[in-house]
Symmetry: C2
Subunit: 416 residues, 2 copies
């Protein structure tokens, strides 16, 4: 093992999750405890904080207060959606990053995010290598979308899935309460992969789920959908449908862009910004069935609802953050922390593994077609077996007056 002494930077990037701070905490605590790491910086708003020279000195934070990061949703250090250019085309940002790394003697860089963030991580890693600057770079995955390649699942997914399943069950109770007919359309995040909408099937497993579930993995056919929902509505007087925001027709056109008039096949009249997919579909279904239809969008809540987080997800997210630092200190670089899991008669087992950054970056993982039923409107047991272990256990979030007690960081800015 080669010992490398120097400071580290931890950054958070992309859309937040309810457990991304648990990963940051794992990394921060491991870094603070490491003899190789001389100073622990948190980048303000991800890579922007490096470019802008705004780094928070995590060593200055109260250790007891830091503990609250474990249960605080969203990115406590701030996030960004900044995409680095190809260094062969424009290396301005990279030069600046290297300048800041040298200024603070940064020898460890940990970046916590999804696909784009792993791309950032990969580019910085390769740039440092190419320019002979020794800096160990490790990506820590997070995304409620669960679409990162090479890892069994992504930290953040289990908590979002649990919120979606729980809320779907509660809506199910409510949406069936009246003596009159009623159709409910649930819109769930997921532009390209259907992992989140599939989580509504966990509600079915628990006895109160949607009649139909549609993912972007299968082209959406409006006529078939309307026939399906009308049949269920006519039979039961109620129907609940869950859809990924990213469902699209066979030509790749998002259903959210469909007009809400006529047979639902007209072009958008430019009003689509007024309502999301749930409203568009609710309007089309209402016209077809004459039923009372309600569209519900889980919106930001599905990625922010830390009060309903999965303890398994919190613990795994924390472990991923720790593993990043521990492996880097031990000499590893240019990797992403991933996980490989076992599910079987012995229960569920979670293990850390390391993946090459350039394989992970920019590759999307979809829900396997065989986990979706043949008709493309429901989810198979294989998905339940996969997802159920990920939502287990309840958060231990501290409360004050029965409301969440979120972390309050001092955010002392480093003076170079």
């Amino acid at each position: 093992m080669s010992i490398l002494k120097g400071a580290c930077i931890i950054g958070q990037s992309g859309g937040p999750t309810s457990v991304i701070n648990a990963s940051a905490l794992g990394a921060i605590q491991a870094a603070l405890a490491s003899e190789s790491i001389t100073k622990v910086y948190g980048a303000a708003y991800g890579i922007r904080g490096v470019l802008d020279d705004v780094l928070y000195v995590m060593d200055e934070e109260d250790p007891a207060e830091l503990e609250h990061m474990r249960y605080t949703p969203s990115s406590a250090l701030g996030s960004c959606r900044y995409k680095l250019k190809d260094p062969n085309v424009d290396d301005t940002d990279y030069k600046r990053i290297l300048e800041i790394f040298k200024k603070y003697d940064v020898r460890y860089f940990f970046y916590n995010g999804g696909n784009d963030s792993m791309d950032t991580c990969n580019k910085i890693s390769k740039y440092c290598l190419k320019n002979g600057y020794e800096c160990r770079v490790i990506g820590i995955p997070k995304t409620i979308d669960n679409d990162l390649f090479g890892t069994d699942h992504c930290p953040g997914y289990g908590s979002a899935a649990k919120y979606i399943a729980t809320s779907t069950m509660e809506v199910y109770q409510d949406a069936r309460v009246y003596d009159i007919g009623m159709i409910t359309v649930l819109e769930i995040m997921g532009r390209h992969a259907g992992w989140l909408a599939a989580a509504a099937a966990l509600a079915n497993y628990a006895g109160s789920g949607p009649d139909l579930i549609y993912l972007p993995e299968v082209p959406f056919d409006m006529d078939t959908f309307l026939a399906d929902i009308e049949a269920i509505y006519k039979k039961n007087g109620k129907a609940i449908v869950a859809v990924s925001e990213g469902i699209h027709d066979k030509d790749g056109k998002f259903i959210a862009e469909y007009a809400s008039s006529g047979d639902g096949k007209k072009d958008s009249f430019g009003h689509s910004q007024l309502g999301g997919l749930a409203q568009v579909l609710a309007d089309i279904v209402k016209k077809r069935t004459g039923a009372k239809v309600r569209g519900i969008e889980f919106s930001l809540l599905q990625r922010a609802a830390a009060h309903c987080a999965s303890l398994t997800d919190i613990e795994e997210s924390y472990a991923a953050g720790r593993a990043a630092v521990e492996n880097a200190v031990a000499g590893v670089t240019d990797k992403m922390v991933g996980c490989e899991c076992q599910r079987g008669a012995d229960g569920y087992k979670f293990n850390i593994k390391l993946l090459p950054l350039d394989i992970v970056a920019n590759t999307e993982k979809k829900v396997p077609r065989e986990w979706i039923n043949a008709a493309g409107n429901g989810i198979e047991q294989a998905f339940i077996d996969y997802a159920l272990p990920l939502i287990q256990g309840e958060t231990k979030m501290a409360k004050e007056n029965s409301l969440p007690r979120f972390v309050k960081l001092k955010k002392v800015v480093a003076k170079g």
Copy 2:
């Protein structure tokens, strides 16, 4: 005390809450334990179950299974929004109700609902009295809207308030995460009274709340609103606003009906069904500020999210149900169960009181003007002092596989 022997009917009515089943359970368990009550019926879909002669025999349910009603949201017996006619104009329904009462020897009628349900309760009570049929009638209040007259608060409100405050805090964390400007508009239920939107101020109390809160109690002025939000956005780069769905201008026109074009003062183009108030306001704010704006509607979740219920609310709801039966058996009739509470140095105390049904029915209670700030865009401490005790304590909902375990009733239909 005059002893009256006979069967009882318990009905649930109006929009459900996450704790209305706790009230039903309190009534059912007290009735099952009472020597005066010979049979306990649950009306299927409220008063419709009486009119349609569909009564569930609660004596047939497994007592251990019934316990799950305490933590199951929505109305387990089913609900309705059926409004009884004035008996002086058309007494068809009343004759039918009396027929069913006689058929099953019903001497106790408990009806759990909001304003309209108390009206139903009152009319049935008066009709029985007028026709010399001895039946003790008691209303059990529930409504997330908290707008029932004569009671300190309504069962159901505390849990909805807690969900709104918690979710607002979580959205606050998320909505401030990026390095770019962002405005968030939260739409909260409450057509005529602003109790629910005011609950967003509890998030401020806990340190992560909206910058502006608007209730229907104060006429909404679009120009002032846009100036207010623009000033906050220019200063902070972020702004969060919470609005009651029922906000309206000085002429009484709902803001949800405003067009989304121009200065936001045009008439609706008929597309308002495409999006609710949050989207309408988000669109107007976006045009004015140029900021990224996100509208979020808490929708059904605020009345169904039993996983985030207040234990205080659950216990009070249960107590209200029990009190209805115990008082009726003791001779009381023609009343609604209400509560009077003390808040002070000795803490919070809850007591049951009884109110005449005809005073309660059809009277709405609004948020006092002095609990809203002078500018009409924020909430005063007096409201916090009022509401904070109502959200205390966590649900003890049973879970299976870390998902809610809701009640499964047999629903054995009574044969007359």
